[in-house]
Amino acid sequence: MQCGTCTGSCGSAARMEHTPRQLWRMVQAGMKDEIFKSRTFWLCSSCYYCTLRCPRGLPLTDTMAALKRVAVAEGYTTDRKSAPFYKAFLDSVRKYGRVRESEMMARYFLAVKNPAVPLSFVPLGMKLMARGKMDLHMPGFGGRGKLDRLYRKVMELEAAK
């Protein structure tokens, strides 16, 4: 209904170049290129507030995620920081059954191929380490490799579509 609830409730809306409401409008208008060139949906942190608040019960957060998937599938990811992050995250999960944070970040930094990015995280990393919130040690996981099958199955299914 273009009521603006999604935008109003979105914690990231201020940093998006198109607010969620605008984004849905662009979807309706079929402005594919512009949508995928924007970083709006990448900034969605999946807090689900908009989905909770939407009076029409629309699955907005899921749609954001769907946009991310389509974007990856259609290769709209080249100059984005978020896509490598998601990829690093999921690769880590795939490998170990859970996130191995340090390795994930390392992979992410490698993937963005831009030395400025890791450097920009240095202050945050130092703080986290100082408070013991970050462990450089790579734990071994019981779940290693177990999810790989699941991943492969999903890929097969998606390819079959």
Binding site: Q2, H18, R53
Partner: protein, 1135 residues
């Protein structure tokens, strides 16, 4: 002569119920008006201010013709009509029999306070130890368990909220009249059987219930329970679901077989809720969830107990039933999810009404509930619980937009313009008559801010203030802090609708409202049971009043068709003797009953003082004058003294209307020569002051009577025939309704064929083909011998005569003129699709109107359309035609959905300002979006730009407000929603004396309360001639207009009120000020004899003429100068 009288039952005494009851009562049916609550007025009792005047105006519903039959008394306080029996605290529990011959069973709530004895002194309330949220004030204040349900009712009786009452008995002790009986014994006699296998549960339940005053037996198994039930008389069984051996459900089945009337409450843990629900299907009354909430448990037990002590099973015979139980509001605080709707300074619209009400908790000051500080920044949030699929409310509550605008204006008024008010909305639904101008003026003149953004959550700020985050028109995020947030809480089906539907045997729609015929919305699924007001859907006051009229019309038609009659027995001779030539002999009767009420008023001394004041009067002492015996002794004394006027000092004058009429009939004295003075009102205070005030009140009454005009009100002839102008859906409906009541109708249609606008419409948005209903109506009209249909004819002149009598000239197609005499006139001249020159209309074949599109779609025209654009509000809602045509949005949706259905590939764009899908229509808006119709908003200041290129190619460029950029669309077809314009009324207004508003629509006497009446007696309007409306709305309005007309036709003569104005021609200077001052158009200058004349039927005795007349050439009977000055002198005597 028929002697059988028709009777009707009206359920629900809110605005619709009162309207229906008055309608039927005015037609001389006997009406039972029942309401579950202890008072009448429904939600209106809580609302002091109503659009568009921001005043109340309910009294305008009181009868204007034959008005002496009803007390002319504030309807928010009470309803007194000789044909209406009001039964508060009463429900219908069964309806048996056939339409026209129903037997309705009524249960009345038990009364712990005898209404006959309660004098409303309030002494009981003081010692009551209970304090709970005051429902009348929306929980903003506290009340006691023994309380007044509505502060301003008359008579006002206290009631006890037994669910909260602790039965401490303090109120019983202090009641000066012994009116309170808590029936403690009855409670003890109410035996409850508790069945549970767990001892702890049994024991604690027993303990609680015994404290509550009940007697309790216990059983630890199903088998024991059955033994006990067979051996004892229980009032209630509390039965556990899960027990070893025989489980609760099994036990229930056996108990049901043994004692089918014994109520059983199932007790269940969360895990077995399903089973408990199952149990309800086999006859359990309710279920209770463990662990028990004592208050919930108590409430349910008390409810069962009260239903056993209720006055059961009064069976009344009625011909028809009208359900008018209205709707309820949802409780925003209970909407799941942390929306912040439960902060102290977040209130509902209704609570806001109570805050600004003079009878509210803060005496009408605009303050915050949390701390009583002034509220100076107020936000109104629309659609809270409406248009919300998550709340299962895919409908618009229809009333909230206007409600909020009105409240924002109230806030402005109450704060002297200081308060900043902002309304946060999605679509501002100003779809009713004059709504758009009201909104415009709120915005432009009063500075109410309208912000199109839905607020997702109310967040707390410091100091009790509230923070709102929203996106503004530019797409920027804004945070704003408010003192008070007012929620437009969505409407819900009324709480009792489900039970009522069950007992009345009617179906409900999925939203819980009464399922009605799609076009005839007062018809429920059961013949003889009708839906009045908001029970049929979401309606504002005006629409409810119309719907109520439609329901009473249908009820009357049914009762009549089954042999019931609305004719009263013929009066024998003149009712009252003319004592205008007799010497005035005045008696004063002082009622001694309960003289202790006024703190021991000395009636002897009072009598003596009055005799001194005027030695010619006779003072009589009587007792219980309100009873039959009292009345008889009064009659005897009157006869002995030979007095011809009487002033009675008693209590509650409003209750005496009927009694005075009886007294008048028996003595032959006009009721105008009788007066009742409330000498026991608490307003007089106590002690010596009270004595002086009582004396003054009696003296004033004496002086009033001495100057009274003994002549009764005059009667006038009526021509018992109707003229209906316009043969569209409204005219046809109205004509048939009147003809079915046995009256002759002339129906004049200017076209060669009847049908009007509806002929251009294939089907309604609901998918009902219009040809069917139109065909039925037309053939019904043609077949009805009471109706003369004149087609190709128009009215060329009309003249009104004394009484209800018109002589109208019509000219038929072949140039012939005919004269038609009639007593009432219904204007149903309809309207037309408005013309336009905007958006390239007329320059390209690709630009069409919605009607033209509809014509094409009927012929498979959707196939082949690639892109269709629709522009709404063409020429509407802006000066010129600054009103919403109401049907264009639904027409656009209907056609868009049709295109999508026939040709799913087609793209449909709708350019709109606000989508006006009020009520259940909103679901079609949802559906259209689901089907992929794209909606693009534009504003009045930035309309879409349409260019017509070569070959008529259409290009639309508009700024999308969400993207903030221009978009261009090249549709194959551009469809314009041009709205409805009224047909030219020509000189009809002049002929029949009604007014036309600036848009050319009929101007009703009063938007809310007299929506179909004109100020001119006997002239009514309905359908599009009144304002744009849909087919079903036109039908309802036509029925309501027919109903109002029938009230008049149903009489042999029409009686003017006894209080009417009169002109003393010898004093009159013919300045004509009275003519401009008269709000009823009742006065005119007769040019032939140079006199001011009064239409006594139209005159309502308001006295405006007497006030503007400088030398009292205009006087109101019963309020003469000398009389009033004598009363003033009497009033000042003791000061």
């Amino acid at each position: 002569m028929e002697t059988k009288t028709g009777r009707a039952l009206v359920i629900g005494a809110g605005i619709s119920g009162i309207r229906s009851a008055l309608d039927l009562a005015e037609m001389n049916y006997r009406v039972y008006l029942i309401d579950k609550s202890p008072h009448i007025g429904g939600i209106l009792s809580q609302l002091d201010y109503q659009f568009p005047t921001d005043h109340c105006g309910m009294c305008k519903m009181l009868p204007t013709i034959g008005r002496d039959a009803s007390s002319q008394f504030c309807l928010r306080k009470g309803l007194f009509h000789e044909n209406i029996e009001v039964l508060p605290g009463t429900e219908m529990i069964a309806l048996e029999g056939e339409p026209g011959n129903f037997k309705a069973t009524l249960d009345s709530a038990p009364t712990f306070i005898d209404p006959e004895k309660c004098i409303g002194c309030g002494l009981c309330s003081a010692p009551c130890p209970v304090s709970l949220p005051d429902t009348f004030n929306g929980g903003l204040a506290k009340r006691k368990a023994v309380h007044l349900p509505v502060p301003h009712n008359i008579p006002n009786r206290y009631t006890i909220d037994m669910a909260a009452c602790t039965r401490c008995g303090e109120c019983e002790k202090v009641c000066p009249t012994g009116a309170i009986d808590l029936k403690t014994e009855a409670r003890r006699a109410f035996k409850i059987l508790v069945v549970d296998d767990e001892l702890v549960v049994r024991d604690s339940l027993k303990e609680w219930l015994v404290v509550e005053g009940f007697s309790v037996d216990m059983a630890d198994s199903g088998a024991e329970a059955i033994d006990l039930v067979s051996a004892n008389e229980y009032g209630l069984v509390l039965l556990d679901v899960k027990m070893p051996g025989m489980d609760g459900v099994e036990a229930l089945q056996i108990i049901r077989e043994m004692k089918p009337d014994l109520p059983v409450l199932m007790m269940t843990a969360y895990a077995t809720v399903e089973t408990a629900v199952q149990a309800m299907k086999i006859g359990a009354a309710e279920y209770l969830m463990k662990p028990f909430d004592i208050e919930a448990l108590n409430a349910k037990v008390v409810q069962q107990y009260e239903s056993t002590v209720a006055v059961k099973g009064r069976v009344i015979e009625v011909g028809a039933v009208i359900m008018a139980t209205g709707s309820d509001f949802c409780d925003p605080a209970k909407i799941p999810g942390a929306f912040g709707y439960d902060y102290p300074n977040v209130v509902t619209g209704l609570q806001f009404e109570r805050i600004v009400s003079g009878s509210g908790p803060g005496a009408g000051k605009l303050v915050r509930p949390s701390d009583g500080k002034p509220a100076r920044k107020i936000a109104f949030l629309q659609c809270v619980g409406s248009r919300d699929l998550k709340q299962k409310a895919d409908y618009c509550s229809s009333v909230c937009c206007m409600f909020s605008i009105k409240e924002a204006l109230l806030a402005k008024a109450k704060s002297g313009g200081e308060a900043d008010t902002a309304i946060f909305y999605m679509d501002m639904r100003t779809f009713g008559k004059d709504f758009q101008r009201y909104r415009d003026s709120a915005e432009k003149e009063s500075g109410v801010r309208f912000i199109r953004s839905r607020i997702h959550t109310v967040e707390p700020d410091i100091d009790g203030r509230l923070s709102l985050h929203y996106v503004d028109g530019e797409g920027a995020m804004v945070e704003e802090i408010f003192d008070l947030v007012v929620l437009a809480a969505g409407q819900r089906a009324s709480k009792g609708a489900r039970e009522l539907a069950r007992s009345a045997g009617v179906e409900l729609n999925p939203a819980g409202f009464c399922r009605t015929d799609e076009l005839f919305q007062s018809k429920s699924s059961r013949e003889g049971v009708f839906a009045g007001g908001a029970i049929s859907g979401l309606k504002d006051i005006s629409e409810s009043v119309i719907q109520a009229g439609s329901a009473s019309l249908e009820a009357s038609r049914l009762i009549r068709s089954k042999g019931g009659t609305s004719r009263p027995p013929e009066p024998k001779g003149a009712l009252f003797k003319d004592s205008s030539r007799d010497l005035p002999r005045l008696a004063v009767a002082l009622c001694a009953c309960a003289s202790s009420l006024a703190g021991g008023l000395d009636l002897e001394a009072l009598g003596a003082a009055l005799s001194r004041w005027d030695p010619s009067i006779r003072v009589l002492q009587t007792e219980r004058v309100c009873t039959l015996a009292g009345k008889k002794s009064l009659l005897d004394s009157l006869r002995d003294t030979g007095c011809n006027m009487i002033s009675i000092g008693a209590c509650m004058p409003c209750l005496y209307g009927k009694m005075l009429l009886d007294l008048a009939r028996e003595t032959g004295l006009s009721p105008g020569l009788m007066d009742v003075v409330d000498i026991y009102t608490p307003a007089f205070g106590r002690g010596g002051q009270a004595e002086a005030r009582v004396q003054t009140a009696m003296k004033m009454s004496i002086e009033r009577l001495k100057g009274a005009d003994p002549a009764p009100g005059r009667s006038f002839n009526i021509i018992r025939k109707a003229l209906v102008i316009g043969g569209g859906i409204s005219g046809l409906t109205a004509a048939l309704a009147i003809a079915d009541h046995g009256f002759k109708v002339d129906l004049v249609e200017k076209e060669a064929d009847p049908g009007g606008l509806v002929r251009a419409i294939g089907s309604t948005i609901e998918g009902v083909a219009t040809s069917g209903v139109l065909g039925r109506l037309v053939s019904g009209v043609r077949a009805n011998s009471n109706i003369s249909l004149h087609t190709g004819a128009e009215v060329v002149g009309s003249k009104a005569y004394q009484g209800l009598s018109f002589l109208t000239t019509i000219k038929t197609g072949d140039g012939e003129t005919k004269q038609i005499d009639h007593g009432v006139t219904i204007l149903a001249t309809g309207g037309k699709e408005a013309a336009t020159r905007e958006y390239g209309f007329g320059q390209s074949g690709s630009v069409v109107t919605q009607h033209e599109l509809e014509g094409r779609l009927g012929n498979g025209g959707a196939v082949g359309l690639g892109v269709v654009a629709m522009i709404q509000c063409v020429g509407s809602r802006e000066e010129g035609r600054n009103y919403c045509s109401r049907i264009c949005c639904q027409t656009a949706l209907k056609n868009a959905l049709r295109i999508k259905k026939d040709n799913p590939e087609a793209k449909v764009y709708i350019f709109y300002r606000d989508i006006m899908t009020y009520g259940f229509l909103d679901a079609y808006y949802t559906k259209a979006r689901q089907e992929g119709v794209i909606f693009i908003r534009y504003s009045r200041d930035a309309k879409p730009e349409v260019t017509i290129g070569e070959g008529g190619k259409v290009t639309i460029v508009t700024r999308d407000p969400i993207l903030g950029r221009d978009i261009a669309i090249e549709p194959d077809l551009l469809v314009l929603g041009t709205g409805l314009a009224p047909n030219d009324l020509g000189r009809l207004g002049e002929y029949f004396g009604f007014e036309v508003n600036e848009d050319g629509f009929f101007r009703e006497a009063e938007y809310k309360w007299q929506p179909v009446d004109s100020k001119k007696r006997g002239v009514f309007a309905c359908g599009v001639a009144h304002s744009p409306r849909s087919i079903s709305e036109s039908i309802a309005m036509a029925q309501a207009a027919a109903q109002r007309a029938l009230v008049m036709l149903n009489r042999d003569v029409v009686e003017a009120g006894s209080v009417v104005a009169r002109v003393r021609h010898g004093l009159c200077s013919l300045c004509e000020r009275c003519i401009s001052a008269c709000p009823y158009g009742a006065r005119s200058r007769n040019e032939e004899n140079d006199r001011i004349e009064i239409d006594e039927l139209a005159c309502q005795g308001c006295g405006a003429c007497a006030a503007v007349c400088p030398n009292s050439a205009s006087v109101v009977r019963g309020f003469g100068d000398r009389q009033v000055m004598a009363m003033v002198d009497a009033a000042l005597e003791l000061i």
